[in-house]
Each structure stands twice: as structure tokens, then as C-alpha cells.
Amino acid sequence: MRYLPLTPEDRTEMLARVGVPSVDALFEDIPAAKRLVELPDLPLHKGELEVERWLGRLSAKNLAASAAPFFVGAGAYKHHVPASVDHLIQRSEFMTSYTPYQPEIAQGTLQYVFEFQTQVAALTGMEVANASMYDGSTATGEAVLMAHRLTKRGKAILSGGLHPHYAQVVTSQAALTGHDVVVMPPDLQAKEDLVGRLDAQTSCLVVQSPDVFGNLRDLEPLAEACRKQGVLLIAVFTEAVSLGLVKAPGDMGADIVVGEGQSIGNALNFGGPYVGLFATRSKYLRQMPGRLCGETLDADGRRGFVLTLSTREQHIRRDKATSNICTNSGLCCLAFTIHLTLLGEQGLRQLATINHAHAVDLADRLAKVPGVELLNETFFNEFTIRLPGRAEDHVEALAAQGILAGVPVSRLLPGQGCDDLLIIASTEVNSDDDRAALVDALAKQIA
């Protein structure tokens, strides 16, 4: 067994030193009747080659994004990640280290987290960001709870443009904790009236931009309305690349900004692991969930970094903690920060521009297909179209031809009368040929 260094001789010798006749003696606290005698009914150990074959067979049954013209988004995006990112995150010292509780021998982790916090604050236009959450959806859930704590109110209003999974995270949580949630109906063109919903019970308004249908939303009027009512504005994004081209939510007056960081540095991974970004204003710091890294000095007066303000956290504060989060998304946050370092100011802007350009091109081409209606007036790299018939059927038909066309809205909002809608994303990985293939195939499909 290649992962186990003890040899039978070692075990015999060690048992003697421990002073027990056999290893069984060490398990005697397990009630006798409950001790397992037989091995679990599972296969025995396998060599690397066998494991590779076994898993390779499963992998081969899936249609990978890079093997197809690929336009699936709605919360997770296929971007090109430079080779150095994956190389660096696999450095032993990053990958096999722990949460940096012993800062003197974890400065590597702590410094990149500090850099990450700075980058996220800059991207979102906020004053302070934490060391990552699990993903965008759970970060949204945490943001709502934070707003409840800050406002001492208990009602959240969720925009109809919020990703339905995100909305479900908030509603599931609220159903159990007894908080109120107002989920606005699907808002295909960002035309809902949110301001009219705010009241003195409202703790927070949760708005996504670009929203799940791809529309961009101007948060400024909402922020102003919120401010008047003592409501906190929580701005959500699922496509971090958009921040390279679109006004930062912080600059439009958001109080808390949360989002999904997957699209910078991280693979699609069938949904996880991803990395949640979380930023807010300094004045709300003490109610912020999650880990924080701060600058300090060592005994010799040199700059160093430590986890800080952990009195907010569960391992100190237990049932009074701001969150129960412990393990977060360390390595995904590292991938994010490395990719963003490689991009830099210029690179991110350029990347965002290409994304937007590709989506504009595709939207224009699709809009010309008879039977296709483009819903969006504004968008970044994703938009929604209306098709004749069920979008899901068309998507399945195209998948059978090796084209992954997008996300039918019915997948996210079943039974809400959106069956003819399709969300389509186009990033820098789509070539001109890819876009042409989609347009052609879709035109034929609906003809």
C-alpha cells in the first residue's frame, strides 16, 4: 500500500513499544457489538494504472468544454487560465499546507491572502475584503445574514435578476432561521421596481449585475433609495471578469459586494470548488464573516502578516461568531490572485473587452436568425434569447451534435413560464468558428 510508510515489522515493533498485543487493543473503546470484523464491502486496493483506467473511463463519458463550441454560463464561465497558474497552485508548499494559524511559517499563504484582499477590494470598489468564502452563492447567504445583524432587521428583498440558486440559498436559510425573504419574479429585462418594495422592515436589497439573464444594472438609484430607508444594498456578481469593464459596485454605492471568483483562475469543475468574494465598507468590518489577514510586525520589527480579528470567528467566539465558516477556498483564492496578477490592470481590461466583443458579435448574429429574439438591451458577455419551442429541447439537440449552446432558463426556473428562453455566454475561448457553428446549428434546429 503505497501511501502507508509503516511496514509489518514497524507495526510489530511499535505495538510492543505501546504495550499492547495487537492493534485491536487500541480500538477497545468501540462497543464490542459495533466493532467491524469484516472488511467493508468495497473493492480492495488498486495500483495507479488501474485507478487511472477506471476514472479515465468515466471522464471520457463527459463532453468537455474544450472539446466543443461552448456557450454555457449562468454563474460559471469557461475562461483560459494561463499554464503558470495551475503550476503554481500545485507547489507543495501551497497545496499541502494548512490554514495559516502559525504565521511565522505560513507567510507565503498569508501574504497572498493579503494581496488577494487588496485585489478584491480594488475590483469591487470597496474598502475591505475577506480571505474568501466557498463561492458566490454562499457568500450571498452570508451577506444577507450580515445585513440582518447590522440593521437588526429581518427581511431581505431579492431581485428577480438574482441567480435562482443564490436566491434559493437565501430562502432555504431563512425558512429555517425564521427570517423573511421576498423573492421578486424573474425579471428578464431588468425592469422590475425594487425601490417600491423597500420598507422599514427591510434589512437588505440583493441585486445582481450582470444579472442572471445578462443585463447590466445601474445600482446608483437603488443605492440612494436604500440609503434613505436604512436598507443595505448587497451587490452580487457571478462573472468577475465583468469588473474589468463595468463600473465597480462599490463606486455605485453598494454596502456589501459579493460574487463568484471562479472565472478568474479557476476551472469549471462541474460546479466546484469555486471561490466566493466578499467585500464591504470598513465601518461594517466587525460584522463581516470569514477570515481576514492583516499586516503587523515581528519581534525584529519586520513586516509580516497574520490572521486577525478572529474574535469574530467560530473557533474563538463559538455560538456568537459572525459565521461558522472555517475552511474556505484557499487554493482557489490563490488561483484567482495569481491569474489576476498575471492579467494586471491592462490585461483584465483587455480580457473583459474581448469577452464583451465576442458576446456582442454573437448576439448580433443570433438576432438575425429568424425566430430568435434577443431580450437584452445591455449585457457584458452573456445574454438571453427567446426561441420558438422549448429551449431545453434545442439545447439537447445541439449537444447531440457536439455543441453546448447555453443554459435553458427552465433549468434554473422550472415551471415559471420561461421554457422558451436560453442564456448564452461567449468568452475569449470562443473562436469565430465556434460562434458561427452555434449560429448555424441553432438556425437549422429552429428552422
Binding site: 509503516l6 487500541l26 499541502t96 490554514t99 495559516p100 507567510q107 447590466l216 467566539r317 483564492c333 494586471g344
Partner: protein, 489 residues
């Protein structure tokens, strides 16, 4: 050479990527263009690579030495796991692709579910929790939902939590809207059935118990506790952080557990990554299975299908995160399980327990054991009684270990033991490494006895940083880099 921050190294014109110029196009941003600089630094690729390589060298990791953090299970992270997680059919598929195009991925989820259920003897599994604490929340939400279904949610608001529990337990209970009631441990470090019985009442929803517990002991009375909970109409949540000790030796399902999360990054070797990502699937008893969150897998004629619509699952408490969970971690954990097999997994638990006991006996004469020199499970717990009067704290001892080239053990946890030092070597360490480790700790313990204080108070001397001022960091938080004001002439 000190390594600056990227903000100190970068120049706005530099970039580590080359991107093509897009064809001219008409923007559709509706006037929401960003007009101000973001404030990101630019670095070329060589600078970026060097920056992160240098940073990495300031970290201690399992790959460089024993990482005996109790309750954290820092075991070997096989590289095969990483290779498999990067197969395009796993790493490069989208959660919302047509399910027909990801049948292999769904099969993989089914397979890891099968392994987890077989090893735990439970009835259902919710894969989607992102980490242990998230798994706890998921399990407690299922319990809450079950109480709602029973109409007892308003009545049963209390969750029993032993003093020795991980901080996540009470935090989770509160998060889900319960109140926490503490249960003290007995003198011998395990939870008292009588204390549990006394704490029980019609207001109790559940107990959250870690087993093996955070003192490294198996809760002998677990079956009685479970029975007491069930008799009282309450549920038994088991914190599975220490499942590593008993895989193949006992099944939580046989012990009366209703819900337990499994830290794939502890028991099944997915890397800790300096703080994540983890994965915390929750196994459920048949009593809780109907209340599991979305999505879950069903086998249909056409293949496997993820149920994502609440309309199809009336008992569910809903959704705890977008999409389907930590696929990348499932692949790694399953790779590890397949590699070890039933025989290897059991052997791993045995070796983990043997290694911990070997360390225990190696240090028992010099350091103090709060519960006597009796067998432990996968971790050995010492306290600071032996440091009394030396003027040295557990923290000083821990920092001195760094100078010997070892990562310290977990200190000051569990809280129930004064000056706790919790050592978990895991099965990944060889006898030779343990011998070195024990010898180094013995040497330090003797230095304590000799009164060689400077070795401890000034420690670490040989780390990338001397002891860091955590108070300063908390008093005036500096949480991001800001451009220094220009120096006036």
C-alpha cells in the same frame, strides 16, 4: 531577500498575458463603463512566477515535514488525485451542461456516495456541502426541517454541545436558529450519558457530538447517548472530523448517528490548500434522508439525473449552494478511496491510531496527559501541567518546535483541557519520522526542565519571521495594501 507585495512590484503598463485585439464592435454596456483605474498592478510572467515561488518557500507543508495538527488530519496528498481531478471530463465540464453530456460525472458522484454510505452504514448522502462547517449546517438544517415536518420546530430549539466540541458546532447551531446548551465532559474526557440525560428535555432538538472526540478518545457511551436522544425525540448529529480514526473499524450508522459530515480533506486526503477548498458531504439516517437538500441523484432508465427542482422533493429543506458541490474534491477523494480500497482504508485508520499511541508513549514520561497514560485514538492530547512554574507557555513550546524544523501541534484546543497540546501524526508518517519528532520534543522538554528559557521565549529564531505581533494586527487592522503617501521633499 524580502519579497515585496505585488502592488510594490508591479507597473501599470506591464502584463503577464498576451491577448489579441478584438475586431471593432459597438459596446452594449448601457453607459456603465468603468471610467476610473481599477488599481491593479501589472507584472510580467517571469516576475509573477518568481513572486509566488518565493512566497511558497515561506510556508511549511506536509510535503516538507510532519504536520501534527490535532483535529486537522494533515495526511499525505497523493499527486494521482490531482492528475485525475484535472481530466477534462471532470475539470472542464460545466454544472449546467445538459445532464446527458455529463453522465460520467454523475456516475462518479454516485460512486463516491456508495463508498461513503458503505463506510458509514448510513442511508443517504448530501454531497454538496463545501466544507466541514458547511456540512454541519447542512445536517442541522435537515434536522430543523425534520422538526418542522413533525411540527416541533417551535418547541425544540435547544442543541446540546459538549464543551470539548469544535467551535464550528455551536456557531452552526446558532446559525440555523438553535440555542446551544453545554454538556460537560467527565473526568476521563468523554461525555457522560447521565449529563446528557439530564440536559435532555422536550425542548431539545439534537446533540452535536464529535466522535472520536477532540480529546482523541472514542466516546464509549455513544450508543447509550444515541438511544437517549432518540427516546427523547431528538436527533444525533455526529461531527465527523475525526472519522479518519475508525474507517473500516466502526460505522456511525451502527452507532445511532442521524447525520454526520465527512471532511474529504481530512479523511480522504484532498489537500488542505492553505485553507481550502474542502468538501463536507453529510451522510444521513433514514429519518433525515427525506429532508436532504437539493440537488440529489436519482437513477432513471435514461441514466442518472440530478433532481434540482423543489417540486420533485417536497421534504427537502432547499439548497445550500449553487450547483452540485465540490466535484473537484469528489474526484480526488474517490481516487484516494479506489487506491486504498477497503483493506487500505482500514489499514490507514489502524496506522493513524498506532502512530498517535506511539507518540503518546514516547512523551508520556516528560509531558503530562490530562486523562492518564491510556490508549488514545488517532491523536494524543497533552496538557500544560508539566509546564507549571517554568514561566513558559504552551505557545512558547510550540514556537520552539518551529526552530527544530517541525510544525507545532494544535495548541489551546480543546478548551476543556488547560493548555491543551493535541498531536495527530496521521498514518502518513514513518516510524523514522516519528522517532525524530519524539526525540526533538523530548529534547525540548528537557530544555524546559533545565530552564533554558531563551530557546522558547524568543522562538522562533529560524523561521521566515520571528514571533508576530497579533495584538497589533487586531488593534489597528491593516487589511489591504494602500499606496504610501509620496514623501515630501
Amino acid at each position: 531577500i524580502e519579497e515585496g507585495l505585488i502592488f510594490e512590484l508591479g507597473r501599470p503598463e506591464a502584463s503577464g498575458v498576451d491577448l489579441p485585439e478584438p475586431a471593432p464592435f459597438q459596446s452594449r454596456l448601457g453607459g456603465l463603463e468603468r471610467k476610473t483605474p481599477i488599481g491593479l498592478p501589472g507584472l510580467s510572467e517571469p516576475e509573477t512566477v518568481r513572486h509566488y515561488v518565493r512566497l511558497s518557500q515561506k510556508n511549511y507543508s506536509i510535503d516538507t515535514g510532519i504536520f501534527p495538527l490535532g483535529s486537522c488530519t494533515m495526511k499525505h496528498n497523493p499527486r494521482l488525485n490531482e492528475r485525475m481531478a484535472r481530466l477534462p471530463g471532470f475539470g472542464d465540464i460545466h454544472p449546467l451542461q445538459p445532464q446527458s453530456s455529463v453522465q460520467g460525472a454523475l456516475e462518479l458522484m454516485k460512486e463516491i456516495s456508495h463508498w461513503l454510505l458503505t463506510l458509514t452504514g448510513m442511508q443517504a448522502v448530501a454531497l454538496s456541502p463545501r466544507a466541514g462547517a458547511h456540512g454541519e449546517a447542512c445536517g442541522m438544517m435537515a434536522i430543523k426541517q425534520a422538526l418542522i415536518a413533525r411540527g416541533e420546530a417551535e418547541q425544540r430549539k435547544v442543541v446540546l454541545v459538549p464543551d470539548s466540541a469544535h467551535g464550528t458546532n455551536p456557531a452552526t447551531a446558532t446559525l440555523v436558529g438553535f440555542e446551544v446548551r453545554s454538556v460537560p465532559a467527565r473526568e476521563d474526557g468523554i461525555v457522560d450519558v447521565e449529563a446528557v440525560r439530564q440536559a435532555l428535555g422536550p425542548d431539545v432538538a439534537a446533540i452535536m457530538l464529535t466522535n472520536p472526540n477532540t480529546c482523541g478518545l472514542f466516546e464509549k457511551n455513544i450508543v447509550e447517548i444515541a438511544e437517549a436522544m432518540h427516546e427523547a425525540g431528538a436527533y444525533f448529529y455526529c461531527d465527523g472530523a475525526n472519522f479518519n480514526a475508525i474507517v473500516g473499524r466502526a460505522r456511525p450508522g451502527d452507532l445511532g448517528v442521524d447525520a454526520m459530515h465527512i471532511n474529504l480533506h481530512k479523511t480522504f486526503s484532498t489537500p488542505h490548500g492553505g485553507g481550502g477548498p474542502g468538501a463536507g458531504p453529510v451522510v444521513l439516517s433514514s429519518r433525515l434522508a427525506p429532508h436532504a437538500p437539493l440537488p440529489f441523484l436519482v437513477q432513471e432508465k435514461a441514466g442518472l439525473r440530478l433532481v434540482e427542482d423543489k417540486a420533485e422533493a417536497p421534504g427537502t429543506f432547499g439548497r445550500i449552494g449553487a450547483f452540485h458541490g465540490q466535484m473537484g474534491m469528489y474526484v480526488r477523494a474517490l481516487t484516494y478511496m479506489l487506491s486504498h480500497g477497503a483493506d487500505g482504508l482500514r489499514q490507514a485508520s489502524e496506522d493513524a491510531v498506532l502512530n498517535a499511541n506511539y507518540v503518546r508513549v514516547g512523551l508520556a514520561d516528560l509531558m503530562s496527559l490530562p486523562f492518564g497514560n491510556r490508549p488514545c485514538m488517532h491523536e494524543a492530547l497533552f496538557d500544560d501541567a508539566w509546564l507549571k512554574g517554568t514561566g513558559l507557555s504552551v505557545l512558547d513550546f510550540a514556537k520552539a518546535m518551529i526552530d527544530e524544523g517541525f510544525h507545532p501541534m494544535t495548541v489551546y484546543f480543546p478548551l476543556v483541557v488547560h493548555g491543551a497540546m493535541l498531536i495527530e501524526p496521521t498514518e502518513s508518517e514513518s516510524k523514522a519520522t516519528l522517532d525524530l519528532f519524539v526525540a526533538a520534543l523530548r529534547d525540548l522538554a528537557m530544555a524546559v526542565q533545565r530552564g533554558d528559557k531563551e530557546r522558547f521565549l524568543g522562538a522562533p529564531h529560524y523561521a521566515p519571521r520571528r514571533r508576530l505581533d497579533e495584538t497589533r494586527a487586531a488593534r489597528t487592522p491593516v487589511l489591504k495594501w494602500t499606496k504610501p503617501a509620496p514623501i515630501e521633499n
